[in-house]
């Protein structure tokens, strides 16, 4: 499998690897995939005042494209509101990383991880601005 330079760069220098402390305020987690499928992605977002994602971290078990996709989205979601982050499409990820067709599902997984993290946030803290304020308190 020949990888694009961008995939290799993210793989060799992954951005934002790690986890937030469990009880940290404003943190939500999305975990998608399954070991049986050969890929599990954990994406965490830390949402601050105004419902803006201040920070993000990931851990991924999967191929190089899966690692690169999740590394990339941690960069992309930062500074975005939840709604903006929810608008990130797997096709944008695949295009940015020049993923071949067999690796498209790795980018779909990254999109799913963002959605799962946002859903977890809304479940934990409720919807919208108020929730964000509550989280920031």
């Amino acid at each position: 499998m020949a990888y694009s330079e961008k995939v290799i760069d993210h793989y060799e220098h992954p951005r934002n690897v790690g986890s937030f402390a469990k009880d940290e305020d404003g943190v939500a987690t999305g975990m998608v995939g399954a070991p049986a499928c050969g890929d599990v992605m954990k994406l965490q977002i830390k949402v601050g005042a105004g419902g803006v994602i201040e920070d993000a971290k990931f851990k991924t078990y999967g191929c190089g494209s899966a690692i690169a996709s999740s590394s990339l989205v941690t960069e992309w979601v930062k500074g975005k509101t939840l709604d903006e982050a929810a608008g990130i499409r797997n096709t944008q990820i695949a295009e940015e990383l020049a993923l071949p067709p067999v690796k498209i599902h790795c980018s779909i997984l990254a999109e799913d991880a963002i959605k799962a993290a946002i859903a977890d946030y809304r479940k934990k803290y409720g919807e919208g601005e108020d929730a964000a304020k509550k989280a920031a308190d």
């Binding site: 499928c37 050969g38 991924t60 078990y61 191929c63 799913d112």
Partner: protein, 405 residues
């Protein structure tokens, strides 16, 4: 082969380089001595025929059979096809059932599938968790209408050596033809066809320092085994396999097998020492599992699973090493190795496996470099792995509800 700009080659079971001594022997048969071995009317043909027969004798000598029992083919894939389809069809009047094992090479499994497509019935035996097939299970699978059983001698993924001598006895007693795929065995384990009750055996040159595209099938003469040809034409190889013989390839296979016979004992000792060094190097790590029996195994193969790290990213992380991964997560088929699955390995372990295969030009320095690299890169990937994190937190991954996709 010591070129450090290239990855260190630890994939000798995929293919081997042609030994320079072999390549040297082959060249004159391409240029000067180019005759067709089937040309009976002039010296060009005669000398080519003589070279082909010398090579045939060398192949026969390595496995202790009569040269007349060796049929040239294009490789072990073709040998397996000819043996399995050829025998099943020839003896179809006797019955239409064949027996094989789930861990066989695709060249056997797909051939058996093809027989099923044309009306045969097949039994695919499960190996034990060690990778070995239980002789009692094997015997129980043979039925009155079984025409053929096929079991490989050395497994290409995990290197285990099946007890084919015992299976041969069982088959002979029950009147079942026995085929053995020995593509991964030549030069690694002694093969004595005079004592083995094997009727058909497949060989390949390129796994034993010979060229690609040439192989052979052993077809027993006493008691005589007959085959339906799969390739029709000029009636070469006693009608079993038509096509002009590739003299240079055949000379190469003969020389490669001659060297294997002479050097096997000392070479295997050296390779065992290297394998043990590699094994010791990885065994110090947490959550490392050797796949397949360690005792009934060729020393050339070490297949290990590094739990909680996915195989493809592992291969990418070890780009300084040329190795194979048991994982085939390429989306078209999110399938871990069918061989490891057949051993009952769970998905995580099957996805996390790496096959290291050691050969003639592997050095101690190569192994030491590999061990250092493995430690460093596995550590890095585990830091990135959510599964490793959960494991470290004491979470049982089997109890997690995964959002499968």
């Amino acid at each position: 082969m010591t070129d450090r700009d290239k990855p260190i080659y630890l994939d000798y079971s995929a293919t081997t380089p042609v030994d320079p001594r072999v390549a040297e022997k082959m060249i004159p048969w391409l240029t000067e001595h180019f005759g067709n071995p089937a040309s009976r009317s002039h010296a060009y043909g005669w000398e080519a025929e003589e070279a082909v027969e010398n090579a045939r004798a060398e192949v026969a000598r390595l496995v202790n059979c009569d040269a007349k029992e060796i049929v040239w083919t294009s490789g072990a894939t073709e040998s397996n096809n000819l043996a399995i389809k050829g025998a099943a069809h020839f003896y179809a009047a006797k019955g239409k059932h064949v027996v094989t094992v789930k861990t066989e090479h695709k060249a056997v499994l797909d051939t058996v599938r093809e027989l099923e497509r044309v009306g045969f019935e097949a039994t695919y035996l499960d190996p034990e968790p060690s990778g070995l097939v239980d002789p009692a299970r094997f015997e129980a699978a043979l039925r009155p209408d079984t025409v053929l059983a096929s079991v490989m001698l050395v497994n290409n993924e995990i290197g285990v050596i099946q007890p084919v001598a015992q299976f041969g006895e069982t088959c002979r007693r029950k009147g079942v033809l026995f085929h053995v795929d020995a593509a991964q065995a030549t030069g690694k384990v002694p093969i004595d066809l005079a004592s083995l009750k094997v009727d058909l055996m497949s060989f390949s040159a390129h796994k034993t320092y010979g060229p690609k595209g040439i192989g052979a099938l052993y077809v027993r003469r006493k008691p005589r085994v007959r085959l339906e040809a799969q390739m029709h034409g000029g009636g070469h190889e006693k009608g079993m396999r038509s096509g002009t013989l590739a003299t240079h390839q055949i000379v190469g296979m003969g020389e490669a097998f001659r060297l294997a016979r002479l050097e096997m004992a000392t070479e295997n000792e050296r390779i065992r020492m290297l394998r043990d060094r590699l094994l010791a190097g990885v065994q110090g790590m947490e959550e490392v599992y050797v796949n397949g029996d360690l005792d009934h195994r060729v020393p050339h193969n070490l297949n290990v699973s590094f739990n909680f790290v996915e195989g493809e990213s592992l291969i990418m992380g070890m780009k300084e090493l040329a190795v194979s991964s048991g994982s085939a997560c390429t989306s078209a088929s999110l399938e871990p190795s069918y061989v490891l699955r057949a051993l009952g390995r769970n998905d995580e372990l099957a996805h996390s496996s790496i096959r290291f295969t050691i050969g003639r030009w592997t050095t101690e320095a190569d192994i030491d470099f590999a061990v250092r690299l493995i430690h460093e890169r596995i550590g890095k990937l585990r830091e990135m792995s959510p599964l490793w994190e959960m494991y470290k937190e004491g979470i049982d991954l089997n109890t997690v509800q995964w959002a499968a996709h």
